[in-house]
Symmetry: C2
Subunit: 343 residues, 2 copies
């Protein structure tokens, strides 16, 4: 870090620290009536809209490694993973809270970096930080974020609405976040073996950015509204395409048939996978953390999304009782299995 001053957390009381960290967060969302600083925040729900509410907990050593995760990126990503869950309901995120437990190894300046990433997320997504809590912990760091958002009841998409013959659509491209993690882990090992060696990250910008600075597809929620397409079911891709397809299948009481050659993989992912002797399809299916949206639409809506570069139709829903199938490029079929993260 450029900032070399180190201010100990213990030099500030709890309230002083919170006030210091949130001083640059100015509420901008119309529905924010009262932000941090009282017993609770107050939000005015848009008339006739439902609230969606989601929470995610990130733990150092489990979900992130500070050896290669800049704190600003960590703060940004911690917010994004929650906004992505709100978007996956086809709702628009509006406010969030942050609870933070940090050990004394963190300085005030380190937390400023972390919060600067959260502030960047507020500005990019037009959401407000409206409360939280800061406390000590013996070791490491845990970040708990809860995000809320709103939309009209009839616009919200659950995981459970897919019907046989619905088309399965994914946004963006997949596998990048996983490959970014592999590159970062590789360079960490090199560094640990020979601490003088500079990490070799050049040429991997895309996949590293996918890992360290993911985005929530709020643009897709807005685009679907413009196109007047309501997904029959939707989920975000945090654990890998394969695992998320199985979630949709189980919740919707149907199955899916997916075509390998339709799964969107970027040229950067292709070349990085090749270099690491990995199969790009496996990275897309099992990698996770791409935070793209996976959804189903009625066949009647196909014309509305056809040709839009944000969307790839990768398969369709089949009746319950069939297996979830991947039809490979070679024409074979394999059953999709969940390979996502386990506790």
């Amino acid at each position: 870090m450029e900032n070399t001053t180190r201010t100990e957390l213990s030099s500030m009381g709890e309230f002083g620290l919170i006030n210091h960290l949130v001083q640059y967060f100015i509420p901008k969302v119309d529905s924010t009536i009262k932000d941090a600083g009282d017993d609770a925040a107050i939000v005015s729900p848009p008339l006739g809209e439902h609230l969606v509410l989601t929470t995610d907990l990130l733990v150092e050593g489990v979900h992130f490694d500070l050896m290669y995760t800049p704190l600003k990126h960590l703060g940004y990503k911690a917010v994004i993973v929650n906004l992505s869950d709100v978007c996956a309901m086809n709702a628009k995120p509006t406010q969030f809270t942050v609870s933070l437990a940090v050990s004394s190894k963190y300085s005030v300046e380190a937390l400023e970096e972390l919060y600067s990433g959260m502030l960047a997320a507020c500005e990019t997504y037009g959401v407000d930080l409206v409360g939280g809590d800061t406390t000590t912990i013996a070791n490491g760091c845990a970040i708990s974020i809860t995000a809320i958002g709103f939309n009209k009841p009839e616009k919200l998409s659950l995981r459970s609405g897919a019907k046989p013959n619905d088309l399965l659509v994914v946004t963006g491209d997949l596998g990048g976040a996983y490959l970014g993690l592999q590159i970062l882990e590789r360079e960490k090992e090199v560094f640990l073996a020979a601490p003088g060696v500079q990490p070799l990250l050049e040429g991997y910008d895309y996949v590293i950015a996918r890992q360290l600075k993911p985005e929530a597809r709020l643009d897709v929620v807005q685009l679907l509204e413009q196109l007047e397409v309501k997904p029959t079911a939707m989920i975000d891709i945090s654990d890998g395409l394969s695992s998320e397809i199985i979630h949709l299948a189980e919740n919707s009481n149907c199955s899916f048939r997916v075509f390998e050659d339709k799964i969107p993989v970027s040229p950067e992912v292709q070349s990085c996978a090749k270099e690491l002797n990995m199969d790009p399809t496996t990275c897309a299916l099992n990698g996770g953390e791409d935070y793209e949206l996976l959804f189903t639409i009625s066949m009647d809506d196909y014309e509305k999304i056809k040709g839009n570069p944000n969307f790839s139709v990768i398969g369709h829903a089949t009746p319950v009782g069939e297996k979830n199938i991947l039809e490979t490029k070679g024409g074979g079929v394999v059953e999709l299995k969940a390979q996502g993260w386990k506790i």
Copy 2:
């Protein structure tokens, strides 16, 4: 614990564990449209009401000590401290989420105990668990809960509405939770010095219950509604009466004069404080964790609350610029200082 089976967390996948833990939580609140199991919960805000949103993080070794905190009580208290914050806005709690980070020293049975306490809180307060997250952590345990609630905009009470001459009112009695903690800490020291010795907890039931099983004063929110009293400002007592009075003063831009002989202290607190050579008033002022409500009302509302055993009028607001004063039983005056918990 009676249950001597030990099932390792690693024997269940993340989704299996969550599903197992939440299986007995059946949503009962009208506004709960979709509980856990999707990307986010869905809540239907009552027409014309505002949402309040609060979050609290409890960390093992900082906020609780498992040597004397039964896991069921911990689960109950973790929910209560959040419901108390909702009540402190003069709102009615409706839903909450739980994020849990636990080390491998916790068994599935231990988490079942923890969740059984949360379920008890759901039943007592008529609230729904609507989501969450479970993950591993290297050491200890962190519990992050976010609670929401609703009320009409004109009914909500901030910390900032007190005016000079408003009466300062507190619910219940104070100092018990702090003394309960002292007794538990004392018996822990005895146990650590001589592990065979049984802890001496008899006769301390009231103060120990105040520490281990606090309640949120939802009954007071309902009572105030019946009495048609809207607090001009309100806060809950988590850090001690003195600290909370200062919060009200700072946020309302006024000061307070408090009378020691009006501060409600139970006979159990009196006798326990005496035994421990402590001043009961100091326990009430600086102890914290009583989760009673502290609020101000217009003098015009005095007749409505007079004589109600739930309320003690302990002082009144004075103009800004004056000191926050405690008038002692002996007739002296001392300035109130915040002695609450610091990070």
